[in-house]
Amino acid sequence: MSKTTQCLIIYLVLCLSIGTAFSQGLAPPSNVAAVDTPNDDGSSITIKWDAAPEDSGISGYQILRRIAGSGLEEVGGMLPAGSTTYVDSTIEKGSAYVYIVRAVTETEATVESEETAPVKGTGEWFHMGKIPLFFGMILFSAAILWNLYDARSGKEIFVRRIPGLEAVDEALGRATEMGRSILYVLGLGQVDNVATIASMTILGQVARRTADYETPLLVPCNDPIVLNVVREMVKSSYLDEGRPDAYNEENIFFLTDSQFAYAAGVDGIMIREKPAAIFLQGTFYAESLIMAETGNSIGAIQIAGTDSEHQLPFFIAACDYTLIGEELYAATAYLSKDPMFLGSLKGQDWGKLVIFAAIVLGVILELSGVNWITTLLQRVR
């Protein structure tokens, strides 16, 4: 086939496509713009265009792109007819891209937009969508710090009575009188879990008392790092109380890191050792009730506490006392009576007050038809 014939065929096909497109009144996508996606690491570019009228006959869009000096390539496959944006996450950082949006009809006729201006993906150092969250965090942290240092002045801080923590001494006393052990279960959380750290600090306080009473304290662990930290903490508590001789490292041991094997192991300890008091503090999942019900069946006094709100009903049903959510984090302050810790509790209360005020204000404004507070909160990602 000669070169002239090839050119003629291409010309005819082009004329036919353009003719079909225009005969159907198909307009190219309008207001096509490519921008660097905001608040990302520079790995994507967002392409936007205006929505086509419903009777335009467009069945979908294709996105074409090219780097300066290279050919066009299609990205993302066929987009549905109603699309007006596409995020290209397959770009090379530092390269400038030019985009074309191609509208496709049901008869496969196509029409292309003009090329966008070249755009590069650049990473942002600060996520602008998180500004309200950032300021909220700063304000809340400032409130806690203010109260922490204000508490050092010796002001008396009122803390409401938490029955679960009031019962700690009762549970330990009971175990001592009965000559039985105390079982402390830290849950399945790892050492980077804040609830596990909170649980470990409660354990430190419990260990101080067991050191005084010479009551055996059993701590089966499911995480090796938690095991080592807990051993150090309990040892430290016994040393602080002047009873290093009463510390028995063998009572703090690794059981297993498997969820239900751990539950089976803890249940076995409960049945064999029959501890008089059981503490279930930390992060728990489906094994919570298996352990709490076994503890209930042996008649032990049980004090539970978790931040897993799905497990709270199980603990409330099966245990004598339950620390609900934030009470777990308040336990250290409550038990140690340290003014600095108590100050942080007051800071938390300020945070709760602000959230409560925002909820009430938001409801009133929404009911009045003013929705800026809702819009502001929806922007936070």
Binding site: D40, L148, V194, P224, F254, G325, L328
Partner: protein
């Protein structure tokens, strides 16, 4: 000194990790991923200590012939089988997979299935209508349970047909879950979140340091 260095590191990494949550830049996200990787590296070393304590615990039980000491032999048998087959053949080997699928999985499932019976016994105690709160709980639980099964709506439509609401059991159940239940759950979540932030600030600033153990 024994405490100052960990406290300084805790402060440094705490602040850096907070800042990475507000910075999407690839450098800050790279730092975040790197620190998470360091965290993963610590685990195998800690696992060695854990296995050592496990062996020590069960060896002591066997030596002292404590009650049920024979089960400690089962622990060693299980450990030996998995180690002798798993280390030379690898975790993807068919024998190791067979042992996992036919021993560990059924045992896990057995423990998990016990939950159904424990839920029944715990619910029996919790729902005994001895106080106003327990009665309220009982009525709510009955409605939610009825709303979860098709026969609940059938009973509602035939027994409470005079009420101007069709399929009421499932509708009331959904209302209970969506409004009072969700509201109380969100209240707990807000409290927990504030507690977590407060505890984290105490840890980052070195005010809460009991997790470091003893020594100065």
């Amino acid at each position: 000194m024994k405490r100052q260095v960990p406290l300084a590191l805790c402060f440094l990494f705490g602040i850096v990790m907070i800042l990475t949550q507000f910075s999407p830049h690839s450098y800050s996200q790279g730092v975040y991923r790197e620190v998470i990787n360091w965290n993963l590296i610590i685990n195998p070393f800690a696992l060695i200590l854990a296995v050592a304590t496990l062996i020590q615990t069960h060896m002591t039980r066997i030596q002292r012939r404590t009650e049920h000491w024979q089960y400690s032999l089962v622990v060693f048998l299980g450990m030996a089988v998995m180690v002798l087959i798993g280390i030379p053949l690898g975790p993807q080997n068919s024998y190791v997979e067979w042992l996992y699928n036919n021993l560990q999985v059924p045992m896990d499932a057995t423990m998990f299935s016990l939950l159904a019976f424990f839920i029944a016994s715990a619910a029996y105690r919790a729902f005994r209508a001895r106080t106003f709160e327990a009665t309220l709980l009982l009525i709510t639980a009955l409605i939610v349970m009825m709303g979860n099964v098709p026969v609940g709506d059938l009973i509602w439509n035939s027994v409470l047909s005079w009420l101007p609401m069709e399929d009421g059991a499932s509708k009331v159940r959904q209302w209970i879950l969506d409004i009072p239940n969700l509201a109380s759950r969100r209240g707990i979540i807000l409290g927990v979140s504030l507690g977590v932030i407060s505890q984290s600030i105490r840890i980052i600033l070195g005010i809460e340091r009991s997790y470091l153990g003893g020594g100065d």
